[in-house]
Symmetry: C2
Subunit: 215 residues, 2 copies
Amino acid sequence: MARVADQLIETLRNDIRSGVLRPGDQLEEAALAERFGVSRTPVREAVRSLVDSGLLETKPRKGALVRVLSAKELIDLFEVAAELEGMACRLAAERLTAGKAAALEDALQFCRKAADANDQDGYAKANLAFHQAIHNAAGNSRLIEQIEQLAGHINPYRAMPFQMRGRLQKSTEEHAAIAEAILENTGTQADELMRDHMMLQGQRLPMILEAIEPR
Amino acid sequence: MARVADQLIETLRNDIRSGVLRPGDQLEEAALAERFGVSRTPVREAVRSLVDSGLLETKPRKGALVRVLSAKELIDLFEVAAELEGMACRLAAERLTAGKAAALEDALQFCRKAADANDQDGYAKANLAFHQAIHNAAGNSRLIEQIEQLAGHINPYRAMPFQMRGRLQKSTEEHAAIAEAILENTGTQADELMRDHMMLQGQRLPMILEAIEPR
DNA sequence: AAATTATTATATGTATACATATATAGTTCA
DNA sequence: TGAACTATATATGTATACATATAATAATTT
C-alpha cells in the first residue's frame, strides 16, 4: 500500500532537496491538499513528519515553512557531519574487507573521470558514491542513518551551483588521500583527512548563505 | 495552545523512557484514544511522530509497537553516541570559558557525592548533569540535539537497575579524568577518555539485552 | 476429516465536518 | 485624524464518519 502521506513526504523532501522549495517558503495545508488532490489529513501527516525531521518549522499561527537555518546552525551542522564522516573513515579502515576496498577504489575512479571531464553533475553523483562506499565499509547502520539525516538538512543549502574553479580536481585529490589512508589501514589519519575535507566545504557556507537569500 | 498530540508524545516518550512501555509492546490507536479520552486524530499524530523519531516501529497490518533493537543495532547506537560525546569533550576543551569550567566542576562534585553515598538515583541525575555540562561547553546546539536523540533510543535499554558493584566509584574516577583533560585544554585526550568511558557502558549491553526480554 | 472458500471482524488510511484562536481590516468614537 | 474595538476571514487542531485491506474463523464441499 502506497500511503498518500508517504508520497507527499517524498515529494516535498525532493522539492526542498532540489531547491524548488527554498528556505522560508510557506506551506499551507489547504493549498497543498488542493495541489495534490487529496484531503488535509495526509497533508498534515506529511507536514508534521517533515517538521519533526527538522526540514520544516512552524510559526505559531503561520503554518509551516521551509526551515531557515542561521549561519551558526549551519556551521554546527557541518561540524557534526564532519565528525561522523571522519568516524566512518576510521571504522572503514579498521573493518575493511576486500570487496569494500574494491568498491571504494571504483568510486574514486568515478570521481577522477568526472573531475577530468569537468562534469559537475557527474561529480556530484561520484562524490556521493565515494562517501557511501566509505559509509558502507564502516559497518554501522546507525552511523549511516545519522549522516544521511544531517545531509538532508545540508542539501537545501548546497543545491545552488556554486562550485569553485578547480575545486573538482582538488576535491578528488583529497578523496584519493582519504582512500589511500583507509586502504593502508591508518584510520586516525583517514579520520583527520576527511574532517579537513568536509570543513573545506563548510568554509564556503557564508558565501552560499549570502547567495540564497530566503524569501 | 497545548496540543493534545504533543502531550501524548511527551507521555508516551516518558513511558518508553521509564520502562512502563517495553520494547515490543503493542500500541493500538483506538485503545490509546480511549485511554486518554481523545479522538484517534491526535493519537495518530503522536504515533507517527514517534515512529519517525525511531522510538516506535510499525508492522504492516499490526499497528505500532515499541521498537525492538537488535544487539547489533544497540552496539551501533552506542558507537555513534560515544563518538559524539567524545567530540563534545574535544570542543569543550577548545572553547571552555570560566563559567562553563565552574559548572563542569560542580557537576563532578555532584557525581562524587552521589557515588560516596552509593545513591543510584542521585548518581543517575549527577551523571546526566555532568554530561550536559560538557555538551553545554561544546557550544554546538546540533551536536546536543543529535546526542539527545541517540540517548532517547538508548534509555529504554538502560532503565533496568543494572549497576555493577563499585561501578559508581569507577565511573566517577573516569569523569574526573575527563574533566581534568578538558580543564587542561587537552581536547584529544578528553575525547579518547570519554569514548572509552562510553564504551564501558556499551560492554554491558549483552547482559542488559538478555535481561530485558521483549514481550 | 481436511482443505478451500467465503464471510466477518478489526486494523489502518482518508475524507469531511466542526471548534477555536488569531490576525487583519473596517468602522466607530473621541 | 488617530486609536481602539469589533467583526470577519482564515489558519490550525480535533472529532467523527467512511473506505479498504487483511487476517482469522466458520462453513461448505470434496
